[in-house]
Amino acid sequence: MTALVIRGGHLIDPAAGIDSLKDVLLKDGRVAEIAAPGKLKPADGAEVLDATGLTVAPGLIDMHVHLREPGQGYKETIATGTAAAAAGGFTSAAAMPNTAPVNDSPEVTRWMLAPERGAVIRVFPIAAATRGSKGETINDFAALKSAGAVAVSDDGLPILKDSVMRETLAAAARVGLSVIQHAEDTRLTQVGGKNASMNLGPTSFRLGLRGWPNEAESGIVERDIRLVSELRDARAHLHVAHTSTAAALNAVRQARRNGLRVTCEVAPHHFLLTDEHVGFYDTNAKMCPPLRAAADRDAMIEAILDGVVDAIATDHAPHAVHEKEVEFENAPNGITGLETAFGLCLHWLHKEWKMPLGRVLSLLSAQPAALLNLKGRGTLAVGSFADVVIFDPRAEWTYNARQTKSKSRNTPFDGWKMQGKVRWTISEGRIAYKSEV
């Protein structure tokens, strides 16, 4: 296999405690050597990337994406979704199971991992917790894990029944998998066959849209934490997906103080936007959970800065243009996020809100790697996978959704200012993305 040398860059690897100028040698898909600038032995035939003035960091890890395959290739394929991920600096993406069919079997898991899918970065399937994600019958987690699943979730839907959630947490703990909960009490959000389509509040009242109360999220999170605390198995790990309410964050914060293994992620849209961004029925501001009130959005920012939030995850949810060009309440939930997450995090968390770069990178790499137990990722320590993002932290640019590598462009961040331009994304030693500049 070819070797790659990254020369002259500033290496930031929070997990390894490195923050200085280093040259990096990648060989056979792994990090082979890290040395002071100019000290690496020139390897025969190694390609050299000049990273002078650039930052070199562990490839980003998105623990929550929807790649839409199998079954919904018109929205996204594993090939296009991973291409968009690579353009966004990601080298790993954990794919949610709400595909068609639902990824509730080792066959689907293996199908997603097959080389024919054309992934340009590493895909980690998250398997369905229950058969068909119907919340009734628990899947065979051991079989799913050996097929390649890294966690279980019924994302898009909650595991609603107490008994089923309790059993899911226990069974997942036995095989060492995390349970990722989509915390939505559908008894409060789907009333009489009508779905709530945005946050419940003055804006939903004004727009005449059915509202999603905060309690529908926080109630499930509180219930789940209670179940974790009742389980004697200390290995039970609850991870709260796309946290959007202050009450849910507080529950997570409290659970952690009580020594429970409860973690959470927040999506960029939930720490940047509020329900007022729905504007005049902008279906690109419709997702589940919905954009919340300013107080909740501010609580997300605080919790990220305070370290309560364990990971930034995009909840990348591509939908075809025609699916979003409909009445707001009929539009599907979700927005794309893989190409905008890093630029938004650098612009807002780092530049505007002064979060140290290493901590931002950690939220996007080392921490999600730890949550999903991805060994050898989220760091560039010698021997780790050669998953690298090389970016210009000072470059400012504007996102243009029409140039996306995703099949879809349903984003509220079209035309937004981004900080930090990805120059190269390297997945296990292969260049997965190279910017045109």
């Binding site: 009508k194 004004r206 005449g208 202050a246 009450a247 504007g279 501010d298 605080e302 707001f328 809100w353």
Partner: protein
């Protein structure tokens, strides 16, 4: 820590909320919020002129212009009055309703709108069961769109005809509207506020003229946060107390089709919120009684009140034709002047 507060030690400036995403066609009427008071004055003045004009002269104003009525929900008053209004100005109208068109076959609102435009429609009057549908149709067709009711959101021409009705009784002779025109006037809107587009349009229009709007109803149909919908709006659960303060009372139908599984005790509702003769006589003997229709006699109002001397319900219906003539004229003449900004 208080989860709702941002500590002062951090100066966080989150991204601002963007303004209106696209400029509307100047002839469109999507929300009562969009109309300036000058604009409302002009519409009311044109309604008066058009109403009294010789029908044969009037029908030359929009002779052979094409107006489409696109109705996804049933309607008696709104559809008929829009149709009579457009025809009264000489326009050709065509009615597309969801039950007798390709909408039944799954055609989207976008495609239906583009089809009507290709057929020569110069403006579309839309009644739709989804809130915000008028914005979608506007952005996709770039035609003047008149919102004839979108889901639970707005029904701006109803607010205009209600205003015309109220002004005739409470401020006769008013020509130019100001932020004080309805100062001192309290209008109570009663009943199913949650699902009412009529209430929302009136709530955004009336306070801009100085009126105070009281919302009255049980919490299932009137959430507390309705009071935050804008300035000049308050919630008063006690119907008698609200009536006592009101010069106009607007009764709403319970929208069973939008209740979505909610259970409502109708007997209890009637006991608390029905407008009947003794209640009206005791608490608001001089107030006018409005209702956007359809009325369910014996539920929100008794027959005696609906047919009684304080009722202006049929006047509202008559005003509907005049207001809609003015609005249809505005839609088609604004487009002649150069279209979208």
């Amino acid at each position: 820590m208080n989860p709702t507060a941002t500590p002062a030690r951090r100066q966080l400036h989150p991204p601002p909320v963007p303004a209106s995403p696209f400029p509307y066609h100047p002839g469109s009427l999507l929300s009562a919020q969009d109309l300036t008071l000058d604009c409302v004055s002009h519409i009311l003045a044109r309604a008066t002129v058009l109403e009294s004009q010789d029908p044969l002269a009037r029908c030359r104003i929009l002779a052979k212009r094409r107006v489409a009525l696109l109705f996804y929900e049933s309607s008696t008053r709104t559809r008929t009055s829009f149709e009579l209004a457009a025809k009264g100005l000489g326009a050709d109208t065509t009615l597309v309703s969801s039950l007798s068109s390709s909408i039944e076959k799954g055609e989207t609102l976008k495609d239906t709108g583009l089809t009507l435009r290709a057929l020569g429609a110069e403006a579309i009057i839309l009644r739709h069961n989804s809130s915000g549908a008028a914005w979608l149709l506007e952005s996709e067709t770039r035609l003047p769109v008149l919102n004839a009711g979108d889901g639970m959101h707005e029904h701006p021409t109803q607010a205009l005809l209600d205003l015309r009705t109220m002004l005739a009784h409470l401020r006769p002779g008013t020509e130019t509207l100001t932020p004080e025109t309805l100062a001192g006037v309290t209008v109570t809107i009663v009943g199913d506020i949650l699902h009412s587009r009529v209430a929302r349009s009136n709530m955004v229009l009336l306070p801009r003229l100085g009126a105070r709007v009281l919302l009255c109803g049980p919490k299932e149909l009137l959430p507390e946060l309705a009071a935050q919908a804008g300035p000049g709006i308050a919630v008063e659960r006690d119907f008698n107390a609200a009536l006592h303060q009101s010069q106009a009372v607007m009764m709403l139908r319970i929208q069973a089709e939008r209740l979505a599984g909610q259970q409502l005790d109708l007997e209890e509702y009637k006991a608390n919120y029905q407008l009947h003769g003794p209640r009206l006589a005791a608490h608001a003997p001089t107030a006018i009684v409005l209702h956007p229709g359809p009325i369910i006699r014996g539920l929100e109002v008794t027959a005696g009140v609906a047919d009684g001397p304080q009722s202006v319900i049929l006047e509202q219906v008559r005003n509907g034709v005049a207001i809609r003539m003015a609005v249809v004229e505005r839609a088609l003449t604004a487009s002649q002047q150069g279209g979208r900004a």
